[in-house]
Amino acid sequence: MTRRTRLRLFAGSATGLGALLLWAMAGLPDFGHYSGAYGRILNAAAPPERHVSSVVAAVVFDYRGFDTLGEEFILFTSVMGVALLLREVRGDQVHRRDRVQSDAVRLVGVAFAPLLLVIGLYVVAHGYITPGGGFQGGVVLAAAFALLYVAGEYRAYRRLTPAFAVDFAEGTGAGGYAVVGIVSMLLGSAYLHNFGPLGTSGTLASGGSIAFLNIATALEVGAAFVLLFTEFLEEVEVSRRSGG
């Protein structure tokens, strides 16, 4: 295809796409006018029904908790796949020494890692009170460990994230979520139906079993990201060694 034909094709399809987009945007509700019935119902129902102030958490860990279970296992399975493939190829554990970085990077990394850890725990713990929760907080927690590596503290990173502990945390998180659902059934309600005392809205002791699902998710997601990062890092190390 010549450049001229390609440009013509682009001009034609871009005009068509642009026209369709404009047409669709003209049909959108006016700016600031929300017209979703589901959202309104949830906003009205969730706080009195579940004693949570973050309705998103009530949706994710309660009203559609089963979907979240599926999402969690998607992450679990893909990370397991990565670990299985890479560990199989790599074989033995790689021992690697700290590499000297610039003092500024070192200082910022070491100073921010504990800070990030606290922020991660905060985002997890307050998931059903303020925006956040297990998914987001879990990634922040994993980033705190990754920051240790960035600061040049490879040995500290590996010592804080031994393979068995990370594997165990990931399995416990994913399994724990499923177990909370089974507990609901044992208590005589539907799978993943909320149970336990609902507590006072706006405090950490609220939301019933949402709190358990939240923590299980944080464990799973945090460990999954640490595992993913570690596996890729070890892979880099192997390629460095073989490549010289």
Binding site: F31, S54, V123, T130, F135, F225, F232, V236, S239, G243
Partner: protein
Amino acid sequence: MIPLQAAAILLVALGATAVVLTRDLVRLALLSSVYALLLVVLFLVFQAPDVAISELVVGAIGFPLVIGVAIVLQRGG
């Protein structure tokens, strides 16, 4: 639409263009992270804090991290 929201949309549009026009991989990783931060601001001024936090952790932490490692791997260490 308040001026803050208009400014956020404009910044996201500029950021997206910059991401598309960048060819160097390392710059792309950094720039996509900055672009994610712009999206976070956009979601925040449109009152979607939950989406903002999700975008923050995936776009500004998770994605650049994996891309960074991938670049090192691709360059053979």
